[in-house]
Structures are given as structure tokens and as C-alpha cells.
Symmetry: C2
Subunit: 386 residues, 2 copies
């Protein structure tokens, strides 16, 4: 056990590994998937329902919580775990990604950023120190360094400047981080430029963080460029620390990234697509608004033990979407998270029994074939905002 | 046991009774409260969550199900129990109330009604035979006779005609009813006119139904007139059959009606008010949008075992409402149904141990005092449409 991360099994043929990540609120089996609870809630689900999917760790968004209800209120309510009704591990991002993609930036400098809240236009300043201290106060088990997320595509000068800032800001985050129950992870930036990724990774590794994330991907570069970047970046990250691929992704992305050596994922796809009547299943995606499901008395997915599959038919779920009942989005969000957690459990089992390599190849091929024609569908890229 | 209704305890001082109502999908403890699942779903809740509130029987609306997804689809999906994912008792209303209050009536006659769907304007005919056969096919455990629901107030001629039709239609419903696993209940109409109520009740009682409902109340007449009508009507209903007060109501209404001899209730208040941030508690109602709750780390209600109270603070729930997270309405709907079921459980226990009379007096007084100034608040009358 190093830094609370214990690798139980290394897959012999590739980078995949099966591990245990210790946190102040319990241990997480890796590779792990974290559902996203942007504003203190996994949309539409109680924490008990989230637990029933097999979820061990969830994600909260510092940017949103900072704006509403604000860090003082979260503290007075007993911290982020109390706000969310979740007593297991939580990870918060630093707010960097949201600042650069959601808000109206009014000033960006080497020291930090100033932006107008996307809710009421209020002026907010965020920098390495503030993002870290806010996360210290929110009280998640894993917190993230404040980083600059460049857009995609991005001219090389801006990309390089973002990498330099991300490195300097990580150092400042590390210096100001003051909650010993929390692990502070660094984020590697650099777009799809492997030299910049290497430079960023090597600089951050000298600072000795307990975990490393790869940020700035799943922003439109596509599966192949994403995977090339992940594979080249992983080489420069320490083998004994957890690796987290932020905001990813579709099942094919996750399986391929595990194969490259990634241990942690978060993504809004299971919940967001669920709200849009898109169900993930082991035999491919289903669009529940499709009239073909209207009189189908079979479950979403044979053998799935989620409440949507145990209690309801495809036809019933379609009906709920057709009439606008909340239960439709709720049931598919539950089922989709359960699907993702079954996928992660199968990944872990197959790493353990050395059957991962061939299976991963098949899964990636299957999911690519199922989603190849889906460009106009509910997300098959990996949106980052819930 | 007569007609599957067994009265265990009669309260000595008034009409209250503690009973057991047998149905094809299980036995219901009475007095009972039925949450409303208008379109096949108790809004925002899975059937497992509804079960956790102590709910034994739920209500579905024939009018809504007839329009969407339609009775053929419900049949193909395995019937109403399968559609709703609910294997316990279900009661369906006949559609009468919705036809007269929701739809655009194009023709009303002695034989039945023709109306334009409130969804797409499609022309639909409903009469005693159709309403009964549709309910036979939906497959609920208790179904209701098709009745005419006059508005309130209502001129006496129209009220009298509605009563005559309701009586004749009940006979036709009884004659066509063909599903022996279902109990067909009759509905007494007559507004707040005690002579008409008596005439309607006496006529229906000669037809020997296994249960009797009082309809056409909680339409704006207020608590006192409602209770006078209930009390005078109950006198003409058989003692050995279950009595159901439709669409009622606030806790004060329910306790007073139990005292008058009512056994069953349905109402949208716990869910509808829950969606509007109004919580029922044993110490009075709470409005969760109130800024006073913003930093309150205490639960909605001490001692409540629902997930909202076990896992969340008032401040967290207020936050969910403020940011528009579905979890706010979900948690308050759950809590409010749990409150109603705790109220019913306490009513039953107090009838059993002969402590009901004084307690009922106190509850009615308390709830009247808590809601007296609430005319602009989330519903404190008893709306019938979810």
C-alpha cells in the first residue's frame, strides 16, 4: 500500500490493473466509475438508489457548489457528505473545467481567473489557493488541483501557456492544501500534444502527488486521439499512484483506457443519456422513445437486477417518457449507472482472472459498432456538464 | 368477513373502525390512504420507495390511462400492475371525475358523455359500460362505477339529474362488470344536499355493492360542509362494507372522516405539495423554500425514518429546491407519503387501543390551526388532479 493505493493484480499483456484506493470514507475498488453529482445530487436519485447500483465513490462539482449554496452553507450543513446524504468516498473537481467552459471569463491571468457566474452574472475570482481552500472546506475525500483547461482544438502557444500555468498552479495548490484527510490529485494538461503532456506529467510527478488525473480530453478529439494521448501520458505517470481520466466516457473509451492503465473515471453519460431515454445494455444501446418498444413487455435488459429491470417493462418505461413522468428519467438513470457499475465489476473480475485482454478487444469493437451511427443521438461523445 | 371486509375494532364513541380489506393482490389495513399514480406512476418515486413509506394500496386514473398509453397497450404490457411495477392492491377510478373537470365535454346525456381529450382533442366516448370494461381490462383490484360529478356549487336541478344518472349508471356498471377478481364499488353523489345524498345512497345500497364511495366532495365546499355531508351520508351506508371518501384530503379532513366512519382515502396532496416544497410533519407544515431553512442542519422531522429524514438536512433539501434539482420534489414526496402513512398507522393503533377519540379532536384542531392562514400556499384544500 503506497499512498493508500494498493495494486492487487497487474494484467500481463497491457497496462490494466486491479487496485484498492483507500479514502477517509472507505475503500474504492479500481478501476472505478464515479457518477456525477454536480449540485449535490446525482440527478433524480436518492443516495440509497445510487448505492444499490454498486457505486462506491461519487463526484461533486466545486464550481457549482461554490455558486450555490456556497461553501459557508455547505459547512454549516455539515460538509459535502452531509449535503449529499452520502457517507462514502467523494471526489470534487477544482472548478477549472467549468470556469473555462460554462462561465463568462472576464479575466484570465497567470495568477488565476475572474469570471461572471453563469447563474446571475456575479463576479467570482478563482485561483489555486481559493480552489484548494474551498475544496478543503467542502471536505471531499479526493480533491483536484486548479488547472487551466484549453479548448479543442487549441493553438500551440495557448496550449503551452495552459500547461505552464497548470504546473505552477499545482505547486500552489499543494502548498496551500491543509486538510490531511483529503488526497490532492494533480491534473495533467497538454491537449493532444504528446510532448506537452510529457512535460506536464514529468513536472507534476516531481512534486509527488498521491494521484494523477489526465484532464482536457473528451472535448471533441474523438476516441482514437484520446486513446493515443492517454497511452502516451500514462508512460510518464508513476505506476504506484492512481490514475484518473476526467470526464470519460462511453463504454469503449473506458475499456480502452483501463487497458492503457487508467484506474478512475467520471462521466455524466449514464445519467444525462438516461434522462434522454437512452439506455446502455450489454447487448447495445436502446432508445426508449422508439415506438418499437411501445408494447414490449420484456425488461430493458435480461439479467439486470436494477429496479427498472426487475419491476418494469420496456413498454412501461417508454410510456413514462411519452407522458413526461419523472419516473422514466429516474429509471433509466438508475439502470445506466447500474450498467456502468456492472461494466466496471466485469473489468475488475477479468483483470483478476486474466481474461481481460481478449474481452476488452471485443467490448471496444462492439461499442464502437453500436455507436458509430449515433452522431445525432443522445450523447455518444462524453459531455462534461450534467 | 363479509365481502372480504373484516372490521376488527369499532371505536366506542364514534363511527371510527379498524378493518382489513381483502383484495386479489393482498390485504389492506383500514383506515387506509392511497397515494395517487395518475398516469401509471406515483410522481417521481419507484414502487420500492412507495412501499418503504408503508403504502399498501395505490390509485390509478382510468381517464389518463385510457388516453395514454391506452387500454390495449396496458393489456399487452401485462395489465396495470405490470405497468406500474406494483404487485400490491390497486384501485382505479372510473374516469368520471376527470371527464367532468379536465376534458372539454362535447355532449353529456343520460347514456354517457362524449369529450375531447385534454391532450390532443381527440373525441372519446365514455359511459357506464365502457368505463367498466376498460377497468376490467386494466385489472385493478378495486374499480369504481362511472358517475356524474357535478360542479360546486350546483343548481339543484342539475344536482338531482346527476344523482339519477349516477344511480342508473351504477346499475349498468354492475350488470356489465365481468372480472370476478375485482370489486366494483359504487359512488354516492348529491353535492352537499343531505336528502339527495340519502336518496343516492339508499338506491345504491339496494344493489348490494361490496363497497361504497362518497364522491363529489373536496371541490371547494370546505371542511365543515364536507364533514356534515360525510356524516349524514355514512348513516345510509351498510356498516359491513368499506367506505371510501374520494379525493380527500388534508390531515384534519382525514381524521374527522375516519371519526365519521370512513375507511379509505386518496389524495394528491402529499405528492403535489411535496413537489411545491411543502412538507407535512407531526409538528406542522414546513415550506422548504423559506430562507430560514437554508443553514438548518436538522432533519425535516425528528424521528421520521424516511430517506429524506435519515439522510438529509432541511438546508440540503432547500438547496435542491433552490437549484431546481429533482431530488427536492422526490424527497418531499417520499416524506409526505411517509407522513400520511404514519398518520394512518397512528389512527389504526388508536382505534385499537381506544385512545382515538381525544387524540382525533386534538389532531383536527392542530391541523386546522396550522393551515388556517394558508389560502395562498401549496394546496390546503384537496385538489383531485395530480
Amino acid at each position: 500500500m503506497t499512498h493508500g493505493f494498493d495494486i492487487l493484480v497487474h494484467n500481463p499483456n497491457n497496462g490494466a490493473r486491479r487496485g484498492l484506493l483507500a479514502t477517509a470514507h472507505g475503500t474504492v475498488d479500481t478501476p472505478a466509475f464515479m457518477p456525477v453529482g454536480t449540485r449535490g445530487s446525482i440527478k433524480g436519485l436518492t443516495p440509497e438508489q445510487v448505492e444499490q447500483t454498486g457505486t462506491q465513490i461519487i463526484l461533486g462539482n466545486t464550481y457549482h457548489l461554490l455558486l450555490r449554496p456556497g461553501v459557508e452553507v455547505v459547512e454549516r450543513l455539515g460538509g459535502l457528505h452531509a449535503l449529499m446524504g452520502w457517507n462514502g468516498p467523494i471526489l470534487t473537481d477544482s472548478g477549472g473545467f467549468q470556469v473555462f467552459s460554462l462561465s463568462q471569463l472576464t479575466r484570465i491571468g497567470d495568477d488565476g481567473v475572474e469570471f461572471a457566474s453563469h447563474i446571475d452574472g456575479a463576479r467570482v475570482v478563482l485561483d489555486a489557493e481559493i480552489a484548494t481552500k474551498v475544496q478543503n472546506r467542502l471536505g471531499a475525500d479526493i480533491i483536484m488541483c486548479f488547472d487551466e483547461c484549453p479548448p479543442y482544438p487549441c493553438e500551440s502557444e495557448r496550449l503551452e501557456r495552459a500547461v505552464e500555468r497548470t504546473i505552477r498552479w499545482a505547486k500552489r495548490c499543494q502548498e496551500v492544501h491543509s486538510n490531511s484527510r483529503q488526497k490532492l490529485f494533480a491534473i495533467v494538461q497538454g491537449g493532444v500534444d504528446s510532448d506537452l503532456r510529457r512535460r506536464c506529467a514529468e513536472s507534476l510527478v516531481t512534486m509527488d502527488f498521491p494521484g494523477y488525473a489526465i484532464g482536457g480530453l473528451s472535448v471533441g478529439e474523438g476516441h482514437d486521439k484520446m486513446m493515443q494521448t492517454v497511452e502516451s501520458t500514462v508512460d510518464y505517470l508513476p505506476k504506484d499512484r492512481p490514475r484518473y481520466l476526467m470526464g470519460v466516457g462511453m463504454p469503449a473509451d473506458i475499456v480502452a483506457a483501463v487497458r492503457a492503465g487508467i484506474d478512475m473515471f467520471d462521466c455524466v453519460l449514464p445519467t444525462r443519456n438516461g434522462r434522454n431515454a437512452y439506455a446502455f445494455t450489454t447487448t447495445g444501446p436502446l432508445r426508449l422513445r422508439n415506438a418499437a418498444h411501445g408494447s414490449d413487455s420484456g425488461p430493458l435488459e435480461e439479467g439486470c437486477s436494477c429496479v427498472a429491470c426487475r419491476r418494469f417493462s420496456r413498454g412501461a418505461i417508454r410510456h413514462f417518457f411519452q407522458v413526461g413522468e419523472m419516473l422514466g428519467p429516474i429509471l433509466l438513470s438508475l439502470h445506466n449507472i447500474a450498467y456502468y457499475q456492472r461494466l466496471m465489476a466485469e473489468i475488475r473480475r477479468r483483470i483478476e482472472d486474466a481474461s481481460f485482454t481478449a474481452w476488452a478487444e471485443g467490448q471496444i469493437r462492439l461499442w464502437k459498432s453500436w455507436t458509430i451511427s449515433d452522431s445525432n443521438e443522445p450523447e455518444t461523445q462524453t459531455p462534461r456538464h450534467e
